[in-house]
């Protein structure tokens, strides 16, 4: 059975189970089940928002309310057919989310959370204040749903109507998690800066997911309306928002299945608390079940942050381990260096692109680039032209401003002053995904891998810009052909780095040097026109360094421009066409390796003092570099 088919089985199982329950369970239980399913739809949406966008809505009831009221108005007051009204109700919820999300999703998670909390209050105030929404008494006397010759007025009928809606809603959500969008957002949650440098527009994707989650809530509101046949301001209440949130958290953050499981659990908890608390405390009045919600919410976060889903997978893996003790054999296929190089040649062909800027033209023009922090000038008025097709190295002592320059070129930091023109486009001060879309991507000095996934999972994120499937294609599984191409290209990039045997390993299990190589593979997979590498050699062994040098020459040969920050001065001198030397934030020298190594200013910067050749015991790196660069053996392998 193909894995794709296998992935559909749980949905079939869920549908069967729900149909059986709806058909066989006693009326009172089906009634509880209906509410679990109605709120479960909203919970699936909130689960997407929290799991993918990493944001939380504390007023999700507001979106349910917008959907419910819109449906009630259109059907009850305007006399629309409920089936026509439903899409409009869902769109109304989405529009509200769009308006709230536009200003807020760029900011840290706290703000959306509190703003949605406020939105809940506002929607409540609004519907209470307006006559057309029926003020405090709301809109009542709404019809039961009736279509296709059936009337959905009994609990059993309504449950069976809801079942396919919930199963399909869950299926779509689950597909989204595994799609290009889901992959990109999951990468953002691991490392926002790395994902953006690979072209992921975090804000745009988060906004889409937020709007989608409101659509689920709106749909939930539609079904709420037709089951209760009355809508009043209580639907927007904080209590319902807490309840939906609890469903997601109890079920398990990060899995949409958790939302449905959580919905059932919370609905049972709710019914139970309402029954038990008045018995225990006879004076209790009002929404006393909240105490259970609050306590469970806290306990889950403290004791079981993965919720019921985590518990489930723990049990399953314990069972599996007992049945099939896993034998971990290392299938390290030994490849000779020649075979490796052949493999690289093959895979590099896949990466070569035709449309690179002609060699020698200025691909990256930096003017007056400056970064100041308070009294410290990290980079001072840098002017630098990088030519298409060259390898330029940026060297200098630690703290000279090299990484700061990289950060401003790639949009990770906004400059204090100055401009960065990449292939004719100003990119200074813009988000990193802008530079990536033009063709510049990078690696990081401090590892920025996507820790929750595998090696190939990391590399696939880099294909974001080379693929198009959006939310809808992803949800409907219309992205299969494209996903195959993504797999192939990612595998090629991994092969090019000689990481073939590690492709399916969790990246967090790899050594530092290997993770660094994965970052390079990832950057290559974007098919960049400008590749910026921040100390790619650090932490690599000698042979790994040789391979990387060899690879970078091949990359250059295919027309890619490489900008390199590196401390391995000898390797740099052997590799680079031109070298720029920074010291104390200033560009002090620029030229061929030979020119730079004979520049007295460079020697002074590296020696730390002028003209002091007698006192220091350690050889200067510049001296070493010079000897390496002039040595016939230097860089002469491959």
């Amino acid at each position: 059975m193909s894995p794709m088919v296998k992935r559909q089985l749980p949905f079939v199982a869920l549908a069967v189970a729900l149909f059986l329950f709806g058909g066989l369970a006693p009326h009172a239980m089906v009634d509880v089940g209906i509410w679990a399913l109605i709120y479960g739809i909203a919970a699936i949406g909130l689960s997407l928002l929290m799991g993918l966008a990493g944001q939380v809505s504390l007023g999700h009831a507001a979106f349910i309310a917008v959907g419910a009221y819109t449906q009630a108005l259109l059907v009850g007051k305007a006399g629309w057919n409920p089936l026509l009204a439903a899409p409009v109700a869902v769109i109304a919820s989405m529009l509200v989310a769009l308006l709230v999300g536009l200003p807020l999703l760029r900011l840290r998670g706290h703000f959306l959370a509190l703003a949605t909390l406020g939105l809940g209050i506002i929607v409540g105030v609004f519907v209470t204040e307006q006559d057309f929404t029926g003020a405090t008494s709301g809109i009542f006397g709404l019809p039961n749903l009736e279509f296709g010759g059936r009337s959905y007025d009994t609990a059993q009928e309504y449950f069976l109507l809801l079942t396919p809606i919930v199963v399909i809603g869950l299926w779509l959500a689950s597909n989204l998690v595994h799609s290009r969008t889901g992959r990109a957002l999951s990468a953002v949650n691991d490392s926002e800066v790395a994902a953006e440098c690979l072209g992921v527009d975090t804000f745009a994707l988060r906004l889409r997911v937020f709007v989608l989650s409101a659509a689920y809530a709106g749909l939930s509101g539609v079904f709420y309306t037709h089951w209760l046949t009355i809508v009043n301001p209580s639907v927007a209440h904080f209590e319902l928002s807490v309840k939906i949130l609890l469903m997601v958290v109890l079920g398990g953050l990060g899995t949409v299945w958790g939302a449905v499981i959580g919905a059932v659990a919370v609905q049972l908890l709710d019914e139970g608390l309402r029954a038990i608390i008045p018995v225990l405390i006879p004076s209790a009045k009002g929404e006393i079940q909240l105490i259970g919600f609050g306590v469970v919410l806290v306990l889950v976060i403290i004791l079981m942050p993965g919720g019921l889903a985590q518990l489930w997978s723990k049990v399953m893996s314990a069972v599996r381990q007992r049945n099939h003790p896993i034998v971990r054999g290392e299938h390290e296929h030994k490849v000779t260096q020649e075979e490796q190089r052949d493999l690289l040649e093959e895979s590099l062909k896949l990466l070569a692109r035709a449309e690179h800027m002609p060699a020698g033209q200025t691909i990256l023009a930096i003017r007056g680039l400056t970064k100041r922090y308070g009294g410290v000038t990290a980079l001072d008025n840098l002017d630098l032209d990088v030519k298409a097709g060259e390898i330029m190295a940026l060297i200098g002592p630690n703290g000279a401003g090299k990484t700061t320059a990289f950060n401003m070129i790639t949009g990770v930091l906004p400059p204090t002053e100055g401009s960065v023109v990449l292939e004719g486009n100003e990119v200074a001060g813009k988000r990193p995904h802008i530079a990536a879309a033009i063709g510049a991507t990078r690696t990081f000095q401090n590892l920025q891998t996507f820790k929750s996934t595998t090696v190939i999972g990391n590399v696939k994120v880099a294909r974001h810009l080379r693929s198009q499937a959006g939310l809808i294609r992803g949800m409907l599984l219309l992205d299969r052909t494209e996903e195959k191409l993504i797999d192939q290209a990612s595998q090629a990039a991994i092969d090019a780095m000689g990481l073939t045997s590690l492709a399916d390993k969790q990246i967090a299990d790899l050594a530092f040097g290997k993770q660094r190589q994965v970052e390079v593979a990832r950057a290559l997979a974007l098919e960049p026109s400008v590749l910026l590498l921040d100390e790619p050699m650090a932490g690599l062994s000698g042979p790994e360094r040789d391979s990387l040098s060899w690879l970078l020459r091949r990359v250059k040969a295919s027309g890619v421009t490489v900008l390199l920050v590196e401390h391995d001065v000898a390797a740099v001198m052997a590799l680079a066409d031109r070298v720029a030397v920074l010291d104390d934030g200033k560009l002090i020298s620029l030229g061929t390796p030979a020119q730079v190594t004979s520049d007295p200013k460079v020697i002074a910067a590296y020696l730390g003092e002028e003209d002091d050749h007698s006192g220091g015991p350690a050889e200067s790196p510049t001296a070493t570099a010079a000897s390496a660069a002039t040595s016939p053996a230097a860089g002469g392998q491959a």
């Binding site: 939380v56 706290h110 509190l114 904080f238 949130l245 009002g286 909240l290 105490i291 976060i301």
Partner: protein, 289 residues
């Protein structure tokens, strides 16, 4: 004109309650980057507890002086029980966690005090009229006490080693540990400060604005909006922001419709975040006093 002055004045009083709540948000956010959603509950709890204490026969002043340390104790205890055990605190975790705590606290208050809103007796004094603007003595109490408390909190951050250590923790947590400032102690102190300002807000505001199990929700939201005006890091701007918000609410309620009073905070929040996401003052990430 008199109407306007009247609305502005009572708005200032109402707003200084928001400001006190906002101080608590800033105190905690600065040290731990946690938006503490329990903040409004401290005020509701203080108001309700003081009402019960007075009901039990305690003089008003004594009731207030008992309740404030009690709420500080609750704030610190809840932090120890819920925030402290979490090893890796993300914004998402902190929001869910503090929402859970605030929900549970709300429900406990509902169980103890029931659903009705109640008011503490007004503090001693007589209402006066100045130039046609009638001023309730309680409003003067609110303004006066809020000013003293805000001043005291700012003084604490600016002039005591302990206060400076909290600022250090906020802007360079690693360096703060290296000079021997314990993040644990800093967190406890921050929650104590938040409990203190929240409790004061609750007892001074209760005679006019009443206390109920659920009043912490909107009070907390408004305090948060005021704190956001100060970029969640400036105590001064948070306090002033609270007062501005109070005035704005009153103007909307007076000239448009009283029903939309509660919508003002939300609109201000969205506008501030849209145009000045780092607050009204200059942008830095450190706590400013």
């Amino acid at each position: 004109m008199t109407d306007l002055l009247q609305l502005v004045f009572s708005g200032l009083a109402q707003g200084s309650v928001y400001g006190l709540v906002a101080l608590g948000f800033v105190a905690i956010f600065a040290v731990r980057e946690i938006v503490n959603l329990v903040q409004g509950e401290y005020a509701a709890l203080a108001g309700l507890a003081a009402i019960s204490a007075v009901g039990a026969g305690l003089p008003l002043l004594v009731a207030v002086l008992v309740v404030i340390p009690l709420v500080i104790g609750v704030a610190v205890l809840l932090e120890r029980m819920t925030i402290a055990p979490i090893k890796k605190m993300t914004p998402l975790t902190s929001i869910i966690l503090t929402l859970g705590v605030s929900t549970a606290v709300k429900a406990v208050m509902l169980l103890i005090w029931g659903p009705e809103a109640k008011g503490l007796p007004t503090f001693p004094g007589t209402d006066i009229t100045v130039g046609g603007v009638s001023i309730r003595s309680q409003e003067l109490w609110v303004l006066g006490i809020a000013a003293v408390v805000a001043y005291a909190v700012i003084w604490f951050y600016e002039h005591t080693v302990r206060g400076k250590s909290l600022r250090a923790c906020a802007e360079q947590p690693v360096a703060a540990r290296l000079v021997g400032i314990s993040p644990r102690t800093a967190t406890v102190v921050a929650f104590a400060v938040a409990g203190f300002t929240g409790a004061v807000a609750g007892v001074v505001g209760s005679p006019i604005y009443l206390s109920a199990w659920s009043s912490g929700l909107s009070l907390g939201l408004k305090g948060f909006v005021a704190a956001t005006l100060g970029g969640l890091t400036s105590l001064r701007v948070a306090m002033i922001g609270g007062m501005l918000l109070g005035v704005l609410e009153n103007l909307v309620a007076g000239y448009l419709s009283s029903g939309y009073r509660d919508a003002v905070a939300f609109v201000v929040l969205v506008l501030v975040l849209l145009f000045r996401p780092h607050g009204l003052a200059s942008k830095t990430s450190a706590v400013r006093v």
